[in-house]
Subunit: 361 residues, 2 copies
C-alpha cells in the first residue's frame, strides 16, 4: 500500500486536530475539517489504511484515531523541511548567529558566576510561554584545557587552588596541608604548576606526569601530588554539567502525562538531574541534523526512560569556541512542535537582544 497525497493530507488533519483537542479524532470530524470534501465513510476507509500503515491507531474499538510515534515523526519531519524552505526564501542570516555569540561571550567574561542567573531566567520564560517543562544546561567546555593555576595560602596549612580553564571557566578547590608552607615555596609551586600544566587537558595530566613532577620536586613531592590531585578533582568536577529546570509541574496540565505514575518518575528525573545529562550532552557533535542544532525526540526515541511518553526538543547554543550549552523543552507527544521550535530558535538566537546589541564588537 502506498501513502498517497490524500492519505497524507488526512493524516495531517488527524494529527493537527489531535494536537489541538487531545481527543481521539473520528472520521466525521475529518470529513468536515478538511477541504477534501469526502464523506465520513471514505475517510473511514482511508483511516483504516493509515492504521494498517502504522501512522495512527485506536485506543480501543469504536474510538477515534490517535497518531503513533511514527505518525508524529512524519508530521514533524514534514514541518521542519517546509520550515527550512521558508527560511531559505528569506535570506537567512548566518552572521546573525555569530553576532549573538559575541554578546554571550561578553556576558561570560563580565560575570563568571552570573550566567547562571541569565539561563535560569531563560528557562523560566520558556516554561511560562510554552506551558511545557524547560531545561537549560550551563555551557560546558568540551576540552577542559588548563589555562592557569593559582595557589594561595588562606589559613595556616590551608591552600586555595584557583583553576582557570580554557573558556575562562573558574574552579576552586580547598587543599588541607599536613604542614606549614612558606611564601617562597608557594611561589615556586605556582611557577612549577603553571609551567608544567599549562595548556594540558585532564586526559593529559596522567599518572606518569604526577610521578615525574613529584620526583623532580624532591622533598616537596608529597605536597605536589596532593595539589595535583586537587587540580584533577576540580577539573573533573567541571564535567558534571549544571542543569536548571523550570515548569516541571506543567506536565500536570496534560492528562495523558499526569494520570499515570510516570508523572512522578518524570518529576523525580527532573529533580535528580543526573539522567538529564543524556539529553543534554549526547550528540553535541551530531548537531548537524537540521543545521540549526535543533533536535526532536518523539516518545520512544528519547534517551531518558521516564520520558518515553513525552516528546523532547533540544537546541544547542555556542558560548565560545568549543563551549556549548543546550536548551530543551519537554512536553506531551502532542505538543505544539512548531511553536516550540520557534521559541527555541528565538531564545538561542536572541540572547543578545536581551542584553543589548550595543556591546557587540
Amino acid at each position: 500500500m502506498e501513502l498517497d497525497e490524500r492519505k497524507k493530507k488526512i493524516l495531517q488533519a488527524v494529527i493537527k486536530n489531535y494536537l489541538e483537542t487531545g481527543e481521539p479524532v473520528g472520521s466525521r470530524t475529518i470529513s468536515k475539517y478538511t477541504d477534501l470534501n469526502l464523506s465520513s465513510a471514505t475517510i473511514r476507509n482511508e483511516m483504516a489504511d493509515l492504521e494498517e500503515l502504522g501512522y495512527i491507531f485506536q485506543p480501543h474499538t469504536s474510538a477515534g484515531r490517535i497518531p503513533t510515534d511514527m505518525g508524529y515523526r512524519l508530521y514533524v519531519d514534514d514541518m521542519l523541511s517546509t520550515r527550512e524552505k521558508e527560511l531559505d526564501k528569506k535570506d537567512r542570516k548566518l552572521d546573525d548567529k555569530a553576532e549573538s555569540l559575541k554578546t554571550m561571550q561578553e556576558i561570560m567574561d563580565k560575570r563568571v558566576d552570573r550566567i547562571e542567573e541569565v539561563l535560569k531566567d531563560m528557562a523560566k520564560m520558556l516554561a511560562n510561554n510554552t506551558n511545557y517543562t524547560s531545561l537549560v544546561s550551563m555551557p560546558q567546555a568540551n576540552k577542559n584545557k588548563l589555562k592557569f593555576v593559582q595557589l594561595t595560602q588562606v589559613d595556616e596549612g590551608k591552600l586555595l587552588c584557583t583553576i582557570v580553564l580554557e573558556g575562562n571557566i573558574v574552579k576552586n578547590e580547598m587543599i588541607q596541608l599536613d604542614r606549614e608552607i612558606d611564601q617562597q615555596t608557594l611561589l615556586k609551586l605556582n611557577l612549577l604548576f603553571n609551567n608544567t600544566l599549562n595548556g594540558l587537558s585532564l586526559q593529559e595530566i596522567n599518572f606518569d606526569m604526577a610521578a615525574n613532577m613529584a620526583d623532580q620536586s624532591g622533598e616537596l613531592g608529597g605536597l605536589v601530588s596532593d595539589i595535583l590531585n586537587a587540580i584533577v578533582a576540580a577539573i573533573g568536577a567541571a564535567d558534571g554539567i549544571e542543569i536548571f529546570t523550570s515548569g516541571a509541574t506543567n506536565i500536570f496540565k496534560y492528562p495523558e502525562l499526569s494520570g499515570n505514575e510516570n508523572a512522578s518518575r518524570l518529576i523525580s528525573t527532573l529533580e535528580e538531574k543526573d539522567m538529564l545529562t543524556n539529553l543534554l550532552t549526547d550528540s553535541l557533535e551530531e548537531m548537524g541534523e537540521s543545521s540549526t542544532g535543533i533536535q526532536i525526540y518523539i516518545g520512544e526515541e528519547t534517551p531518558v526512560n521516564s520520558m518515553k511518553d513525552c516528546s523532547v526538543v533540544t537546541a544547542t547554543y555556542e558560548f565560545e569556541d568549543g563551549v556549548y550549552g543546550k536548551i530543551g523543552i519537554i512536553g506531551p507527544k502532542r505538543m505544539d512542535y512548531e511553536k516550540v521550535v520557534d521559541a527555541l530558535k528565538n531564545v538561542t538566537g536572541s540572547l543578545d537582544q536581551k542584553f543589548g546589541k550595543g556591546k557587540k564588537k
Copy 2:
C-alpha cells in the same frame, strides 16, 4: 472544661493511631487500643469533649476523629519534652548515635572537600530513609566578612578576582579592563585591597571608602573603583542561598497531599527554591527553642504557603564558626515526628562533627 489526664491519654492514642493508619480513628479502636479499659461509649463521650476543646475533629458526621493542628502541636510538644528528659537521664544515646553515624560517616568520607556533594547525598539519604521530602541549604556566612582578595591577570586586559570570605567561601568575578596592566601594578593593587578591606563586611565597604581609596590611588583611581565594584557584586551574589531538595515526589505517597492541586504547587515551590529561603534562613538566631536547633512547623504554622497542609521540621548545623546551614524535612502533618527529629539530630550531629566543632580539635 479541663484537659484531664484521661483525655490527654485518649488524645495521644487517637493521634498515634492516626499517624500509623492515616484513617480517621473511631471510639471502638481506642477502647481496645489503650490500657484504660473503657467502653467505646465512654470514649465517645470523651472524644466529643476533645472535639469541643479543639484538639480533634470529624471529617464528616459518622466518621472517626482526626487531630487538628492544635492537637498535633500538643502531641509534638509533649514528645519533645519527654524526649529531652530521657536524654538527660540516659547517656545511652551515644550508642544509638554511633550506629546511625556509620552510614553517615561513609557518605562524609567520600569527599570531604566537596561539601555540595556531601549535602546532596545527605538529602537523598534522608528522603529515602524517611519517605518524606528533604531539603538542605549550603552553609551560609552570617556576616560576609572579607578574608582575602586575589587579583590575577588571565588575559591581556582581563583580571580574575578571587574573593575568600570568612568561612572559606570562595567567589570569583571576571573584570574587563580598558587598558593593560603590568605585574608591578597588580602587586600593588593586591596589597592595597588586602590591607584595606581585610575583615570588613559588605555593609562596611561603602561609598565613602570607595571614594577614599580611589583618591589615594591617584591615576589608578578608575581601576580601583572598578575592582571594588566587582568585589561588592561578588559578595552580594553570595547572599543567594543554594538549596538542594530530594524526594519531592515522595509526597505522592500521601493521598491527603497528592490529591488536590496543592501537590503541584508544592513541587513548584521546591523547584523554584526561592520560597524555601523563608524556611531555611528564618530564625537562624532563634534556634534556642529546644537547644538543639530543631524547629517544627505544623500545618498553618509554616511560613511557606504551599505547605499549609504539610508539616516541616528543620535543624541547624554548624559548618564553621559563624557559618550555619539548615536541613529540613517536609511531609504530611501525620508524619512520624519522632523518627524525623531523630534523623535530623543524627545528621546535623555528624555534620557538626565532620565540619565544625568536631574537626576543630
